[in-house]
């Protein structure tokens, strides 16, 4: 820290008298919001102190995202007041929120890969552009907040952690004094998480207030100064991390005990259900998949760990039959399917839980019972000869809704009306009730709450006992370690490590995922 910066910091600290009211950055009173498909925010009360890292935790679907959107101005609350820095505010757009000093860092980065850092920072700003001054300002901000960002670096050359810091810088550049980070650690490996937390602490030292949304309790306990728990759209408690354990926090979140994905007995057989041999897929520049060989046997869960964008999407496509291979073979259930279409593969008992349910898992404008047919158009009970069997499909849909606890008014409701978690449960139920022999599962519990997560894990374990083979791609390291019989690490399109899930820790796994460690640890 330079002298001038220290002076700037102390100036802020000794600013207008630190009375209690002045110490509060954000105050929310009685926020109520109903938002299409998401659980309502129902009487949210929140007080965020200045220069604090304030964590908001809750199950997925508890209303965290809605709350953040309200704070960020992209949603208007139906009731309640928002007070920022002692002034009551009403945001009509994110622009208003930024004007009030609130900036949002989204989970998915919005950066142009082919532009430099400084170009991304100034992109979209109104007024005249002074390149020299912008760069100087970026350097100054970067130094003051310890973000370590080079304004001339190309985004494409940066790692995930650095990109995230660019996003933070973007928001600071626009004058934000209150940062909202939506699940910032979801895309990071453990080492990068530590770096992020260091940056956040530095930011608060410099007078910035951080609102941190997460459902990873260990992280929250490690970094937050204060924690607000949200359940079913209500604020349940506001606690200090020193006063609670992870377990107590989890119980506050769920209201019941915390499940674990751990698999007890081994059910792996010798029968190979999926055999990928030296599969190569072309990509822009280097190959997206390079000579990947994976075997999934009956009763086995093979987990694929990796930082997002290292070939997982292509791997899924190769098994599903939507991405053409440029080399190698795909054998499903003993049949060479390398050049066979998706339908034939699905008819052979391939179940599919997509990475992004809205992208290729649902027909959002269609009723649930029609969505039940999707992917199983040629199979009973959905068809009779060339005709759709409406009664059969509806019956199966009702069964999914019941068995998988899908919260919906009826099976005639269009899919978009369901919350993300309920859509996910519906998809899992659809695939599992079709009794697949091989399940291609990408993030099977993404976006669903802790209780339902346990139920999904139970369903997968149960099917595995009956001989289901599972290729599991997940970003949830606990899930990967807990469910998998074999754990493979994918990096830059290659399988770089084969690990024994019983012996590996999330931190170790993180090292393999970033390439810091390589090889086989059995």
């Amino acid at each position: 820290m330079t002298d001038s910066e220290r002076a700037a910091g102390s100036e802020r600290a000794s600013g207008p008298s630190a009375s209690d009211a002045d110490d509060i950055a954000i105050e929310l009173r009685g926020i109520v919001k109903r938002f299409p498909g998401v659980v309502a925010n129902d009487d949210i009360e929140l007080i965020v102190r200045r220069r604090h890292i304030h964590a908001i935790v809750g199950e997925n679907g508890a209303g965290k995202s809605t709350l953040m959107k309200i704070l960020y101005g992209s949603l208007k609350p139906d009731e309640g007041t928002i007070i920022v820095d002692g002034t009551q505010r009403s945001f009509n757009s994110p622009r208003d929120a930024i004007a009030a000093g609130i900036g949002m860092v989204f989970q998915h980065f919005m950066l142009a890969d082919n532009l430099a850092v400084w170009e991304n920072v100034v992109l979209g700003l109104p007024g005249r552009l002074d390149i020299g001054r912008s760069k100087a300002r970026i350097e100054e901000l970067s130094a003051r907040y310890g973000l370590d960002v080079d304004p001339d670096a190309l985004i494409a050359d940066l790692g995930v952690g650095q990109r995230q810091r660019v996003e933070i810088l973007k928001v600071l550049y626009r004058g934000a004094r209150i940062l909202i980070l939506d699940e910032p650690t979801a895309v990071l490996v453990p080492q990068e998480v530590d770096e992020l937390f260091d940056s956040l602490r530095e930011l608060t030292r410099e007078g910035v207030t951080v609102l941190f949304i997460s459902h990873k309790l260990d992280e929250v306990l490690a970094v937050a100064d204060e924690i607000t728990v949200i359940r079913a759209g209500r604020t349940i408690a506001q606690v200090k991390p020193a006063d609670v354990t992870a377990r107590q926090l989890a119980e506050l979140m769920v209201g019941s005990e915390l499940p674990t994905p751990a698999t007890s007995e081994k059910t792996v057989t010798d029968v190979v259900e999926l055999d990928l041999a030296n599969v190569t897929v072309a990509g822009a520049g280097r190959n997206a998949l390079e000579s990947v060989s994976i075997r999934v046997r009956r009763g086995e869960v093979v987990g694929i760990a990796g930082v997002e964008g290292n070939g997982q999407t292509e791997l899924i496509g190769v098994v599903l039959g939507t991405v053409p291979t440029t080399g190698g073979s795909v054998v499903i259930n003993g049949h060479d399917m390398t050049h066979v279409g998706t339908r034939a593969r699905r008819e052979r008992g391939l179940g599919y839980i997509p990475e992004d349910r809205q992208y290729d898992g649902l027909l959002l404008t269609q009723p649930l019972w029609e969505n039940e047919i999707l992917g199983h158009q040629t199979q009973s009970p959905n068809v009779r000869g060339p005709w759709i069997d409406r009664r059969g499909a509806r019956k199966r849909t009702a069964q999914i809704v019941h068995d998988y606890d899908v919260r919906t008014p009826s099976i005639d409701v269009e899919a978009h009306a369901l919350s993300g978690g309920n859509q996910q449960k519906f998809i899992v139920g659809r695939e599992m009730l079709a009794e697949p022999q091989l399940l291609l599962a990408a993030h099977p519990t993404r976006g669903i709450d802790v209780g339902a997560q346990a139920a999904v894990w139970d369903h997968i374990k149960e099917a595995r006992r009956r001989g289901l083979g599972v290729l599991l791609v997940s970003a949830d390291l606990e899930e990967l370690i807990g469910l998998s019989d074999t754990l493979l690490v994918i990096l830059r399109g290659e399988i770089v490590a084969r690990l024994d899930p019983a012996k590996v820790t999330p931190t170790d796994l993180g090292s393999y995922m970033t390439g810091a460690r390589a090889g086989t640890a059995a």
Binding site: R34, F35, P36, G37, V38, V39, A40, D42, G61, A232, G233, G255, L320, T322, G341, T342, R343, A344, R345, R346, E347, Y352, P354, Y359, D360, G361, L362, L363, L364, T365, Q366, E370, I373, L374, G375, H376, Q377, T378, V383, P386, W387, I388, H402, Y404, D405, R407, T408, P409, V413, E414, H416, A417, L418, S419, N422, G451, A452, A454, A455, D458
Partner: protein, 370 residues
């Protein structure tokens, strides 16, 4: 259930209001009385003659609407239906005149020729799209122009009856005529005035609507087709081959298009041969009808009737010094009104349904099944 019906009625009702308001403004600005105009239109369609005229006109429109709607259902824009039916019907008219077959077979043979030619013509943009990635909107528009040229060339050089004053194909023999439905109507005790004939291909149009419904809404193929239109990525992951789907849909759309010209050619005593006066541009109207009818066979049917009503009932206006072009204003306003109001109503409904679902979801958690 009742709420669903109410939601369903909200959009067309508001579209109708919009149409009437726009047309009223246009009339009022041009110094005419909206009330008088609408009364004249309504009373003119009171006669059996005009009712039959509306029905007859709507037959070809309806089938054109179905042809376009089928493409829309999977997100394909078959603007080429116009070229497809015109090329189909000119060749079918010429071929039919050379055939001598018993009645039913003669009609069937002509229909098969028209459908086959239209499908072949539709296959060109389909293949261009799946092999070379050519956008079907561009290629079908261009192929319409090509079809116009080819049919004019064929007609004037090969199909033309040399003796006739106007350019036309040989007249079809009686065995190729589809008889009017007058005798059938008479069974119910109705008698049409002299020279009023209800086109027999009305039956064909109704059958086409039923086939469309079964194919699109009840069959496995239709599910794949609709899924491809709603979310092509989800359809692909569910096992639909996008390329095959484009080809199949285009061919079936072309098959429907092939039937557009059948009602005037075989069912209308005014024609029974292809000439320069044969109706053109029917499939462009079909695009509007598919939009208004929301690609649903019943909706497109109502749209076709309404469209024909506007055209027939405004004919009387020029006798009363009211510009007949009000018909086009009404038709245009109707298309805009329908597109806008359906979108507005859809969004409202979405919010309402989501609210209901979220209320259900925020209810106390049920016990998680083991």
């Amino acid at each position: 259930m009742r709420r669903r019906i109410l939601w369903g009625l909200a959009a067309p009702a508001s579209a109708l209001v919009f149409t009437v308001v726009v047309a009223s403004i246009a009339l009022w600005v041009s110094g005419n009385s909206p009330a008088t105009t609408f009364r004249l239109m309504w009373t003119s369609s009171d006669s059996a003659r005009n009712v039959v005229a509306i029905l007859n006109r709507s037959i070809a429109y309806y089938i054109a609407g179905l042809a376009v709607a089928l493409g829309f259902k999977m997100g394909l824009f078959n603007i080429g239906a116009d070229g497809q039916y015109r090329l189909g019907i000119v060749i079918a008219a010429a071929a039919g005149a050379e055939m001598s077959l018993p009645a039913v077979f003669h009609v069937a043979a002509i229909m098969i020729v028209a459908v086959a030619v239209a499908m072949a013509w539709a296959a060109i943009p389909a293949l261009l799209k799946v092999t070379r990635g050519v956008n079907e909107v561009i290629s079908t528009i261009m192929l319409n122009a090509v079809a116009t040229g080819i049919s004019a060339y064929l007609l004037s050089n090969y199909f033309r009856v040399q003796a006739a004053q106007i350019t036309q194909t040989k007249p079809l023999s009686r065995s190729a005529w589809i008889p009017p439905l007058n005798r059938f109507i008479r069974l119910f005790g109705y008698h049409f005035p002299k020279n009023v004939y209800l086109n027999g291909f009305l039956v064909g149009a109704i059958a086409a609507g039923a086939i469309y419904y079964l194919l699109v809404y009840r069959s496995r193929f239709g599910f794949d087709l609709r899924a491809s239109g709603i979310n092509p990525f989800a359809a692909r992951s569910s096992g639909v081959s996008p390329r095959a789907m484009v080809v199949k849909t285009m061919l079936i759309s072309g098959a429907f298009a092939g039937l557009i010209g059948i009602a005037p050619l075989l069912g209308d005593i005014q024609y029974h041969q292809y000439s320069d006066t044969f109706p053109t541009g029917l499939a462009f109207t079909g695009i509007a009808l598919a939009l208004i009818g929301r690609n649903h066979p019943v909706g497109v049917g109502l749209a076709a009737l309404l469209w024909s009503f506007l055209e027939v009932s405004t004919q009387v206006l020029s006798l009363n010094n009211i510009p007949q072009e009000i018909s086009q204003i009404l038709q245009g306003a109707m298309v805009v009104g329908v597109v806008v109001s359906y979108e507005v109503v859809r969004r409202r409904q979405l919010v309402a349904v989501a609210k209901e679902a979220s209320q259900r979801a925020s209810a106390p958690a049920a016990v998680v099944p083991a």
